[in-house]
Amino acid sequence: MSAIHVENLSKVYRTRIKEEGLKASFKALFKPVYKEVQAVDDISFTVEQGEILAFIGPNGAGKSTTIKMLTGILHPTSGRISVLGLDPAEERKKLSYRIGTVFGQKSQLWFHLPPIDSFVLLGAIYDVDKKTLNKRISELTELFELGDILQTPVRKLSLGQRIRCEVAASLLHEPDILFLDEPTIGLDVVVKQSIRQLILRMNRERGTTIFLTSHDAGDVEQICKRAVVIDQGRIILDQPIKNLKYHYLNRKIIAVRFEYPQHLEVPEGVKLEKSTDISARLSVDTRICTIDSAMRWLIAQGGVADITVENPPMEEIIASIFRHKEGRIQ
């Protein structure tokens, strides 16, 4: 049985338009004007049990709206959803015992209390008996290396520590599916990496199905086997991550600054996107030129003052997906 099955799902938001000026405001009092926003537009997909699926797209693409519909918070405008065989909108409470959610930008922990108190509360809310709960807490403490921070008020934790607790908190009732909405947002590279490792382990050891949204290509590359790319409410790509990686995540951006003016003769696989006398922005095709050799070449030029390596932004990846599609049609 599939864990999540979605058919022709759509969500339309109705928002009030406010025009400028006093007269318009007065008019709106009696005759409000509404604008319809199509947040999710006729999407269909299936997630198998034990799968890790990345749901990626730029901000405002409809990722969170989809998660909120899958977890029963928002009711769809049209279409069908089945999560673990349940209809989220109709059987929200029943479903809630079997799923966990983490919203990276929000907190489910009590800000002034240590995480352990929130864990006890969540345990009671999910009807986990005390013995099982204590066992779960000590398992998760070990897995997430929570140790001392369990007793520290949440307001005193770093973002990375807090997110680790947030993820642990949503696993206390051993959900079958874990929904992660931008879990790594705002974290530094090292913490991001450790959260990714944890998610992978959860999946391997417990077989937890993972549905992850992100606008960070790094999350996707490293932990997911399949990616669904969504843009303006529509699915534009649903492929194994291997394909995505080969076709669209094959570039890295290197920004470099020199101590003295340099003239660059770029090797094969490297494209000069922008440059001044003492700085350059390079796009590296990693299929042709590895990051390792690109860096060696740069250092060999001499006088490097600063270097950053980044993934291309999500918007660029999406643009190249569209270009690729059009190319195939022609």
């Binding site: 901000n59 909120k68 977890t71 918070i73 928002l74 929200r92 930008q105 209390l113 108190d117 009807d127």
Partner: protein, 263 residues
């Protein structure tokens, strides 16, 4: 049994939180003190001698202390909290849990209410004792009965506030309801006893919930009578029930069409 443990734990943790998060108490205490001091002087000026509409100065000051106590006791920020949760999208975490959202909010606020009642209660009694001294002929045996009425008053106020807060699920702007509600609570029982209102307004007020949030328990404290007790407590129970039903109905209507913002 499971449900009991669930809601009891919510109450316990929220009480714990109230004790840890004390910074807003100090501001509240200062506000309470200033408010009482100003109105004490006002009433003293008005009361040159004797009684007004069945209240002596001592009773009037105690009355005000008690209605203030109820209002400060209910200061859990339920209305603004709900608005904020909907606008920031934090509501997403609270809705997909295996509990009834309305009862969750109630037990969550109850911790704060119990805490407020202890702190402000102590403050109210001390202030009234300093300003006017004890109520002549006060009978401690009837205090528990007055406290039951006071508890009901707080619950009624809480559930009406929650009902107003729940409109945020559907409406973008609902602060006006809150402001109107606050003024009505203030005028119809909190600031002045119902007996002071003109006859026609008294007649209308009897059919509104407002006096049962403030006047009823405060009057019981300053001038207890069994007749009064049996005439107000059943009405309080009725308003309590109605306010819960109203909250549930608005919740059910709201949650089906919630517009969760915040990405």
């Amino acid at each position: 049994m499971k449900a009991f443990r669930k809601y009891w734990t919510i109450l316990r943790i929220s009480l714990q939180n109230a004790f840890v998060y004390r910074s807003n108490v100090l501001g509240g205490l200062v506000f309470f003190l200033i408010f009482m001091f100003v109105f004490f002087n006002l009433w003293r000026a008005i009361y040159q001698s004797g009684e007004v509409a069945g209240y002596s100065l001592v009773q009037m000051v105690w009355y005000l202390c008690m209605t203030e106590l109820i209002m400060f006791g209910c200061r859990t920020g339920i209305f603004s909290q709900m608005n904020e949760d909907v606008k920031s999208g934090s509501i997403a975490y609270q809705l997909n849990r295996p509990y009834h959202y309305v009862w969750y909010q109630f037990f969550n606020a109850l911790g704060g209410m119990v805490f407020n009642l202890l702190i402000y209660g102590l403050m109210a009694v001390i202030m009234a004792m300093i300003m006017v001294g004890p109520i002549p002929g006060f009978n401690f045996a009837t205090l528990p009965l007055s406290l039951i009425s006071m508890m009901l008053a707080m619950f009624i106020n809480f559930f009406f506030l929650m009902a107003l807060g729940l409109t945020a699920f559907r409406l973008e702007e609902n602060t006006a309801f809150y402001l109107i509600y606050q003024k009505l609570v203030f005028m119809l029982g909190m600031f002045i006893p119902v007996e002071f209102l003109p006859g026609w307004l008294q007649a209308i007020t009897r059919y509104l919930p407002f006096p049962y949030m403030t006047w009823a328990p405060a009057r019981l404290i300053v001038a207890f009578s069994w007749e009064l007790f049996w005439s107000v407590v059943p009405v309080q129970l009725l308003w309590f029930g109605l306010s819960v039903i109203l909250s549930m109905a608005i919740y059910r209507h709201g949650v089906a069409g919630i517009q969760a913002h915040g990405g």
